[in-house]
């Protein structure tokens, strides 16, 4: 998903993140209650029918939460509905007689005037009377509307990094690298051990492609360290392309050393989701670059991989230690829920959202979907355990950079071309602003 954002929104987002934290704490945050057992606020015999509309054709993790909610409200009936052409139909759906009570939202909708009705109909979730524990949401996953209202509840987040085959590391007596130097050393050792290209991934220019996961967080970090570069970058100023150099040079270096082999990746990995996962399950790739979406697809594909079924191994997600003192946790919300304030069952809908906005339930949903929970509790899914206690100064969301989507695309195009030898680093930097085709 490509996020479109205006300048105003960017600033608002950054500023309000802190505001939400304070507000959230005041409104509903009572830290000690974070893990407390859910206590129904409405009569448990209440019966109602709640409809959740979304973009997933299949939303088993949410249906799992329905079941858990029924334990408190056995007479409630919750139903998930996939809307065709969601971007175009959600507004109409909200205006119809059969409007959903809860619906999926995304950050780009905040900036799309056409989608304004989506938020006009959204319940403000930090209303103290709702008693929703927004404080359990991780800082990097918090979003608000332009006016500061919290109308979107993050459900899933994703990041970019690599799946590590822990068995290969263990077999070769290696530790998962924590900084760039150790990453290079590990790659050397793995090559020596017979792994010709220790790092693989989908050779493409998508956010799920290997270059985005490998070098984009380093680029973002450079931008954050140099905020004045944001404007020229967004403006496609050619001179701003220089900001890409550190990231592109490291990428080129990896290719040159043979740690990464784009041609082989193209040959063996057809796409950035199913193919990359299945290739990883072959069991001979020490590190597989990709996005959180790639990770989310692993659970269901374990059983589909004959190689993995025959020789299962342990694997975990890590950010790429691209910098001298480690990697960067690029935090991106994958999916939000908003509540239709015109819902015929608004009280019960809010009760369900209150039920859901807890580390346990959000963690449970994320674990089933194998995406990253929007809370700080990564304990429910061991695959993401490396993110537990990740340093805050190395965690950021893309929106914090203030970069627009065009910059994102330009970098991805540059990285792809440099890695595949289409351009040199210098050529790519010089071509900034016209790299995306």
């Amino acid at each position: 998903m490509i996020i479109k954002k205006g300048e105003l929104i960017k600033k608002t987002a950054v500023l309000l993140s802190a505001a939400i934290l304070v507000t959230g704490l005041t409104a509903c945050g009572k830290g000690q209650e974070k893990n407390a057992e859910f206590k129904p606020a409405l009569p448990t015999e209440t019966s109602c029918s709640i409809r959740v509309a979304g973009t997933y054709s299949n939303f088993e993790s949410l249906e799992s939460e329905f079941e858990r909610f029924y334990e408190y409200y056995p007479n409630a009936s919750l139903n998930y509905v996939y809307l065709d052409n969601y971007d175009n139909t959600i507004v109409s759906a909200l205006l119809s007689d059969e409007a959903p009570d809860i619906y999926v939202t995304a950050t780009w909708m905040l900036d799309d005037k056409k989608m304004a009705p989506v938020f006009e109909n959204a319940e403000v979730l930090y209303d103290p009377s709702l008693n929703i524990d927004l404080d359990c949401i991780r800082k990097g996953a918090r979003w608000t509307a332009e006016n500061g209202d919290v109308v979107m509840l993050p459900i899933f987040t994703r990041s970019y990094g690599m799946l590590v085959n822990m068995d290969i590391f263990e077999k070769n007596g290696l530790k998962v690298p924590t900084d760039y130097k150790s990453l290079v050393e590990v790659c050397d050792k793995l090559k020596t051990a017979g792994y010709e290209n220790p790092i693989m991934g989908a050779n493409g220019n998508t956010v799920s492609g290997m270059y985005y996961a490998f070098s984009f967080p380093l680029f973002c970090d450079n931008v954050l360290k140099k905020p004045e570069s944001v404007a020229p970058l967004n403006a496609m100023d050619k001179s701003a392309g220089e900001m890409m150099r550190p990231a592109l040079e490291k990428l080129q270096d990896f290719v040159k050393k043979g740690y990464l082999n784009p041609a082989r990746c193209s040959e063996e990995i057809a796409d950035d989701y199913n193919a990359v996962i299945m290739r990883f399950f072959e069991g001979d790739v020490p590190m597989m670059l990709g996005s959180g979406d790639m990770v989310s697809g692993t659970a269901k594909r374990e059983s589909k991989s004959e190689a993995f079924t025959a020789n299962p191994f342990k694997y975990k997600f890590y950010v790429v230690p691209i910098d001298d003192d480690g990697g960067f946790f690029l935090d991106a919300v994958n999916l939000f829920f908003s509540v239709n304030k015109n819902s015929k069952n608004l009280d019960m809908t809010n009760e369900f959202i209150r039920f859901l906005t807890r580390e346990k339930e959000l963690g449970n949903m994320a674990a089933i979907k194998r995406l990253i929970t929007p809370t700080d509790d990564f304990s429910l899914d061991e695959v993401y355990s490396s993110l537990e206690g990740f340093p805050e100064d190395k965690s950021f969301s893309y929106q914090e950079t203030g970069l627009n989507d065009a910059v994102n695309k330009e970098f991805r195009a540059a990285a792809y071309k440099v890695a595949n030898g289409i351009m040199t680093v210098d050529e790519a930097i010089s071509a900034y602003g016209s790299l995306w085709e």
Binding site: E63, S64, D84, T89, V91, A93, L95, S96, E98
Partner: protein
């Protein structure tokens, strides 16, 4: 059966009942569930019909629209898209039904709608470009009546989940002026369809109805079926291999049926499926939790629970009842044991107590035999002795039967004279047979050895029983008793005694043979009801023979007679043949007519040790005529002292003595090295005649034992056995009259059986001496008993009471003796309570008897100065008659003379008073009183 076993069996039965109930309930439950599932499946099929009708109806409405538009085209007046939508807008009734007319010519899949978009009320255009709905437009039917239905999708105009019925129409392309084909869609909210399902639920509250396509994607689905695809959902929660999975998908999408699956909670649920008729693209699924169809099992479990409780209750009740009756049985068993003990006690005392009167009978009879000179009397007396001994034997039979029952019967082999055995048998039976007019034939082999070794008593019992039966059951004819003997070649010291008894009696039916030897069984009871008997005899006889390795054989013909026979191995001690038995028998009869001591042994010396002087006196009296020298000792120590000093030929040692009993005394005697009596046989004197005594005394070191009251004949037999032959001399031919004076008051004492006393003491003189000694020691003995009991010395109390029992029986004080015997038993059993309670009564009787005997002291004195002869009864009667006549004739001189002459005689005590009164009347000249005095005397 043990209690735990019963409870276990009960529990097993209970378990089986419950198992049966559970199985039955399960079977019923399965049947019920099966029928419930079948009903559920029928409901699904019914629902399918309704849904199909509904879908066909809706398709029909769509087709009407299409037909109208197409007819216009066919009629040459084709409608434009706008006109067609306008027509539909007018034709449709419900505002929630949308009509869409879509051009499939290009990829944009744009068209026109009856309703404007939700966000723009002026925009009627509709686009399906981003909705994946028409992948296979060729599959959409152009025929009327064929349902062409979309999946559930989002109506792009209003964002509502909808379904659409489709048909093709021809409309005029305004740009080209040509007809073009467009897709007509009758769009309805899915909720309309879902609302129809509400009416299909019927009796199933939890049923959920879903429609899926061939891939499993839902058109509509209930709350419980998750995922967007039923098959994916099924896979998520139900493990099955690919073959089964494919089979399942094939079945669900091709036929009607029912299956069980697990839902997302892991609960069993029922899915009933059926394809929608006239469409092979949609399939109806009905879902219900399995437990909703199993509702009736609750009743079964309730029933099971109640039955379990009931059975447990029954078990507990039975257990309690069992326990109750067990307690009762235990009490009954305890009572039975007590009764059995009482019986044993009774039997053991019976051997003691019945023997006493029997001994009195036999003893008196012995006196008769000794003193009588009349042939007839001797003959009768001999019969009495024989029958009496037999009676004693029968009493022993009863004891024996009890012992057989208790398994305590022992066979005791002794040397015995076969002739003597035959004598007893013949004496007993011959008379009875002759009394019944039966001929008693004896056929005794003259070669039978004279002394055999075997259990004489038991053999005698066996033959007695057989002979008695023969006499009882034979009314006329004869009884033949046959005795023979067979040598055994391989054993020179034994042979086979062959006995048979043949009668001409009633005989035994073959069917009664088996019952012949059963205890208490009496054959032909009805016919023989007048015949006495317990039915024990043959049973005992057979038991004895079995114990001796033999058995009775019976040959019988009903109505003609029977032969009972047996062969018994006996040891032979003297092979000398008995010779002609009949001759011997007749001789023996004549020999025993008059008592004679069988020997004299003036040089033989005996030692008798007994703590009771009376017993010592009796012993001396019984042997008086044998002239044997007898030393007596009143205690064990005194006896030991004599034992050390003098040589004796036989020593008699009482068992029960205070301080040192007979066994202790014997042990000390045997331990003495310096004694002239090393080889002297020691015989135990005992009042205990119960079984097992013999073994006990033999084991204690005695050479023999003899029971008290002492049988004179057995005593003499014993002495003949033990006194050296050189000291035995023939018996004296001298008769000795025994007319020693016994005062009348002795005969009148109720508590005293003089005849019994006489029998035990041997002579009148001895009896009087014994009585006097009894009297002299009474006070002292009574005081000692009292003293011992007072200090709690039960052992010596018992010994003293034992002595009292013995001496009392010797003098004929049987009642007192019996009471003493009871208390002796109590003392031996440690029953101090009875002892303390009854001892007062005993001492009272003892002292009363002693008081009654006190005149003996006077008599002794009188007897010393009064040498006058005692007047005979005849003389006294004649004198009284004369006095009466002289008084009547007033001849008082003659009266005086007679009285004076009577003064030269001694009068019996009961007549002395009358004589004194006569004398007083004469002295006082009151002659008129004399007739009255005399008449009183006559009374």
């Amino acid at each position: 059966m043990k209690k735990t076993l019963i409870v276990t069996v009960d529990l097993v039965i209970m378990g089986l009942i419950l198992f049966f109930i559970i199985q039955y309930a399960n079977t019923k439950m399965h049947e019920s569930n099966k029928s419930e599932i079948e009903a559920f499946e029928k409901m699904t099929v019914s629902a399918e019909q309704i849904i199909t009708n509904y879908l066909e109806d809706e398709q029909h409405l769509c087709d009407i629209w299409a037909n109208y538009i197409n007819r216009s085209a066919e009629a040459g007046t084709p409608m434009t898209a706008e006109e067609a939508i306008s027509f539909i807008r007018k034709a449709k009734i419900s505002p929630i039904i949308y009509g869409h007319l879509i051009s499939l010519d290009d990829s944009s899949k744009n068209g026109i709608s009856t309703h404007p978009g939700a966000t723009d009320s002026h925009n009627y255009s509709v686009s399906y470009r981003n909705i994946n709905l028409f992948d296979n437009p060729e599959e959409i039917s152009r025929e009327d009546g064929v349902v062409s239905l979309t999946r559930a999708y989002t109506n792009p105009q209003n964002g509502v989940q909808s379904i659409a019925f489709m048909n093709y129409v021809k409309v005029l392309d305004e740009a080209t002026g040509e007809l073009k084909e467009a897709l007509l869609m009758r769009v309805e909210p899915v909720s309309v369809l879902e609302d129809k399902f509400v009416f299909l639920k019927g009796e199933y509250e939890s049923v959920e109805i879903s429609l899926i396509n061939k891939e499993g994607d839902y058109l509509v689905h209930g709350k419980s079926l998750k995922n967007s695809n039923f098959f994916e959902y099924y896979k998520s929660y139900n493990r099955l291999d690919i073959t089964d999975y494919n089979k399942m998908t094939e079945q669900v999408t091709s036929m009607s049926g029912t299956m069980t699956m697990l839902n997302s909670k892991g609960e069993e649920c029922i899915i009933s499926y059926t394809p929608l008729k006239s469409m092979n693209t949609w399939f109806l699924l009905t879902y219900i939790p399995k437990k909703d169809l199993d509702a009736n099992t609750v009743i079964d479990w309730l029933l099971l629970g109640m039955v379990t409780l009931g059975l447990l209750g029954l078990l507990v009740f039975n257990y309690l009842i069992l326990r109750f009756y067990n307690v009762k049985l235990a009490e009954a068993a305890a009572a039975a044991n007590q009764a059995n003990e009482a019986k044993s006690h009774f039997l053991s005392t019976m051997s003691h107590d019945i023997r006493t009167p029997m001994n009195a009978i036999l003893g008196l009879n012995e006196m008769v035999l000794r003193e009588s000179r009349e042939e007839e009397t001797i003959k009768y007396s001999e019969s009495i002795r024989t029958a009496g001994k037999t009676l004693l034997g029968l009493i022993n039979d009863i004891l024996d039967f009890s012992k057989i029952e208790a398994g305590k019967m022992d066979i005791i082999n002794v040397d015995y004279s076969f002739v003597s055995l035959l004598n007893d048998l013949v004496n007993m039976v011959q008379g009875k047979a002759e009394d019944k007019g039966l001929q008693f034939n004896l056929d005794v082999d003259r070669n039978i050895p004279v002394i055999l070794n075997g259990d004489e008593i038991r053999i005698k019992q066996i033959i007695t029983n057989i002979l008695s039966n023969a006499v009882k059951y034979t009314n006329e004819g004869s009884i033949t008793f046959k005795a023979g003997f067979e040598k055994e070649e391989d054993n020179p010291e034994s042979g086979k005694l062959l006995i048979s008894v043949t009668d001409t009696g009633i005989g035994i039916k073959p069917e009664d043979m088996k019952r012949l030897f059963q205890a208490f069984e009496r054959i032909d009871e009805k016919k023989n009801r007048n015949i006495e008997g317990t039915g024990l005899g043959m049973s005992i006889a057979q038991s004895f023979l079995n114990m001796m390795g033999s058995h009775i054989e019976v040959e019988s013909e009903y109505g003609k007679g029977s032969t009972f026979s047996f062969a018994l191995e006996q040891g032979v001690r003297d092979w000398k043949p008995i010779g002609n038995y009949e001759k011997i028998f007749r001789h023996s009869l004549s020999e025993i007519r008059k008592y004679r001591e069988r020997f004299t042994a003036p040089y033989a010396r005996l030692l008798v040790v007994d703590d009771t002087p009376v017993n010592l006196s009796v012993f001396e009296s019984l042997l008086k005529r044998t002239k044997v020298q007898i030393d007596t000792a009143l205690s064990g120590d005194e006896g030991i002292s004599l034992y050390r000093q003098k040589h004796y030929d036989v020593i008699f040692l009482d068992h029960m003595m205070p301080d040192k009993d007979g066994i202790e005394t014997l042990r000390e005697m045997k331990e003495l090295a310096d004694t002239p009596n090393k080889e002297t046989p020691v015989v135990c004197l005992t009042a205990n005649a119960i079984s097992g005594m013999r073994e006990m005394y033999m084991n204690a070191g005695f050479d023999d034992y003899i029971t008290k009251p002492i049988d004179p004949d057995r005593l003499e037999t014993m002495l003949l056995q033990y006194i050296p032959k050189g000291k035995i001399a023939p018996a004296s031919e001298e008769d000795e009259a025994d007319d020693f004076f016994i005062p009348d008051f002795i005969f009148k004492l109720e508590d005293l059986d003089v005849n019994s006393g006489l029998m035990h003491c041997g002579s009148r003189e001895s009896y009087m001496v014994t009585l006097k000694m009894y009297l002299d020691s009474a006070q002292k003995n009574a005081d000692e008993i009292e003293k011992y009991l007072k200090v709690g010395d039960i052992q010596n109390t018992t010994i003293k009471v034992h002595a009292l029992k013995s001496t009392s029986r010797v003098i004929g004080a049987l009642k007192l003796g019996n009471l003493a015997a009871q208390l002796e038993k109590a003392g031996e059993a440690g029953d101090t309570e009875t002892l303390e309670r009854e001892i007062g009564n005993l001492l009272t009787q003892y002292r009363e008897l002693a008081k009654e005997l006190e005149p003996l002291n006077d008599i002794k004195d009188d007897g010393a100065s009064d040498d006058r002869p005692i007047i005979t009864e005849k003389d006294m009667k004649e004198a009284y008659t004369a006095l009466s006549e002289f008084c009547a004739s007033f001849d008082y001189d003659s009266v005086v003379n007679i009285v004076e002459s009577l003064e030269r005689y001694r009068f019996p005590e009961d007549e002395a008073t009358r004589f004194d009164a006569l004398k007083k009347a004469v002295d006082n000249f009151d002659y008129e009183l004399i007739p009255g005095i005399l008449s009183g005397g006559e009374k």
